[in-house]
Symmetry: C2
Subunit: 401 residues, 2 copies
């Protein structure tokens, strides 16, 4: 049958193809016979959906007495997966004896050849706020006689990266582990799955700043830290009414905002420690701001930190996944890293004592996490087959260890 | 009676105290007996209201055959006074023989002593847009390998003013006319109406950047150009859907916007030519952007230009206004300039061939054009009396010329 002999398959929650979100929340479906059950987080799904993916599953062995609930709540990752860690912690009994954690939220490096992800960058979300006058001021009446918070902020933000996308914060390249691309480069060049020019055209930029070869580019995307200024807003970050006072008509040009906030996304890599990077950032921002000698105030706020993740290449599950993907697609999968972040990966490994298998399903052009996301039908179907076989064969891989 | 002997008073539209807007639109009240009448602009009043003011009036002599309509449409100035110029041009006959244009939209320099405004700065509203990738990109997947538009923009914006609020655009202080403060300084210091420390405390900043004396500060606010960065937004300025794609949840940190826009308010002074300043700005922005050598594109867009304005101190109407204010308030008015802009002032002078009288009513702490705007009751009542007497005595001032 579709699921093979019942006795050989660990019982698991319903396998569902869903848009939006990886293993990012635990649903509140009541499990008959189970003791405590998880309350669902309030649904907060917002457009656009996150990456298309098969659901992520915990594969327990031996089979639990009751079926596991589906571990999927669409939209939760886009909202920070609030409560996920606590929900799993409070119900660790459900996951006793877990062998592997399968997460499908990454992407192929190209369009044709299936991939396995063996490393991801971490992420620090931070904001830099400058506060000045007690209230918004009129650019006619008061323009020209004090240091304006938004002008100060542009100077500090401009000091973070150079025009080549190199991070200018001292200490920010410390502790980057060398040799991170080696595993990928054993197979990737021969696959012709990735080219500088193809990548440049796909993201639609005139020039890439990262080196002169595919190796340079992938090293920058996968193995070096990056710092992006993703947003600037006027008004204070804590002021819920900040947009009401001056977002009207052409004369919004007239108002000097009393505060301004810049948002920064930092990606970091093995073996960097995020706490140390935050210290470097704070020191740099304080230094650059002090140089301005203005009467304003500046603050760096850290909103979230998600750690980097790496697979153990020698693990029997990694080898199992390579074999299963190879058989399903009739070609050797590429080993890739990814520049994005999966904060739950290392958390789940620690909480459950089981390794993560990161199984990408979609093509690099899928526009994941962005508007007009998609996935190819064949990727979805073969991806489902790979997950099914992993679940069936995991107990044997364990036994063969 | 309230209006004096009917025969001596030019007929004029209803005098109304209204929040929001100076002489900024012509209402559509139908005038009995008049031929063509003005269609009202669609009401677009938006919070917060602009400055409180008495309405502005055109004072014709001889009296027209029909009463003039009230020349007030609340909220229109905040929306750019669209169509005002065209509406007046199309009905110049109504204003034939106008002697003066009274505008009440400026402020006293302090709290106690009434003022007459004899000069205002002009304004250029401009935006600086940087466009990069064909679409928004993910800061994890793509961060670190191309020049990001918002990062480029922060560098260009940071190059416009220094931390002391001095404009760094070459040529921007050309053609500033010297001696512009002389008229104000003949009376202002003795009035004790204005102090560095009082002003600093009122606007709520820790330090002022403009010099060490009241003279320096007023020169900067009234007689020198200023450049304020008033807003930065991600996404393209022409993209109506720009906020829909990534303004959701905490992962807005994940998205590198494909474009970013900075808004700039420039105030300029006699005898600067705005066209020349725009050229200087374009040249500077192009130069600073070229230094970055990125693959992105930059554009400077000018949204509106309002000219500076100055009173003719020797005009009989200026002398009349000084005398009338002195009699109403029992004190000599101060002669002040203002840093703000009244684009209709010079336009009306040219169109009607009549000089503008700029009659401030409110105190400097009234928070004009901003949230929580106010006006003191006594200012409103005495202001009304001043307007009434000006209208009664203007014909005699003309005759005595």
């Amino acid at each position: 049958g579709e699921h093979g002999p019942r006795g050989h398959v660990p019982t698991f929650g319903s396998l569902q193809a869903a848009s939006c979100s990886h293993l990012a929340g635990v649903s509140g479906h009541e499990v008959p016979g189970a003791g405590p059950h998880l309350s669902p987080p309030a649904p907060r799904c917002v457009p656009p959906p996150g990456p298309l993916s098969l659901c992520s599953l915990l594969c327990p062995a031996p089979a639990p007495r009751t079926p596991l609930p589906p571990t999927q709540t669409p939209g939760e990752e886009e909202n920070g997966s609030t409560g996920f860690h606590e929900a799993v912690s409070a119900h660790l009994g459900w996951f006793e004896g877990s062998q592997i954690v399968i997460i499908s939220n990454t992407l192929w490096v190209g369009e044709r050849v299936p991939c396995l992800t063996y490393g991801m960058r971490g992420m620090i979300s931070a904001s830099i706020e400058v506060h000045g006058p007690a209230r918004d001021l009129h650019s006619g009446n008061e323009g020209g006689v004090f240091s304006e918070p938004l002008a100060d902020l542009t100077k500090v933000l401009a000091s973070l990266v150079d025009a080549r996308a190199n991070i200018l914060v001292p200490g920010f390249y410390d502790a980057v582990r060398p040799g991170m691309l080696d595993a990928a480069m054993r197979r990737l060049p021969a696959s012709h799955e990735f080219s500088l020019e193809g990548y440049r055209a796909q993201i639609g930029v005139r020039r890439l700043t990262a080196g002169r070869s595919e190796w340079d580019l992938l090293a920058a995307r996968w193995c070096l830290p990056s710092l992006s200024v993703v947003d600037v807003r006027v008004g204070s970050g804590d002021d819920p009414a900040r947009s009401a006072h001056y977002r009207f008509g052409p004369t919004r040009f007239s108002v000097i905002p009393r505060a301004a906030v810049g948002q920064v996304a930092i990606r970091f890599v093995p073996a960097q420690r995020p706490e140390s990077l935050v210290e470097h950032l704070r020191a740099h921002v304080a230094h650059e701001f002090a140089k301005l000698r203005t009467g304003n105030e500046i603050a760096v706020k850290v909103h979230s930190i998600g750690d980097w993740w790496e697979a153990d290449e020698a693990s029997p599950y990694t080898k199992l996944a390579e074999r299963v993907v190879q058989e399903e697609w009739s070609t050797t999968p590429l080993l890739v890293r990814e520049g994005g972040t999966m904060p739950v990966a290392r958390k789940l490994e620690k909480m459950l004592g089981a390794p993560v298998l990161m199984l990408p399903m979609g093509q690099s052009s899928d526009n994941c996490h962005l508007a007009n996301e998609r996935i190819q039908r064949v990727n979805l179907l073969r991806g489902k087959n790979v997950v099914k076989r992993l679940l069936m064969e995991a107990p044997r891989a364990k036994a063969a260890q």
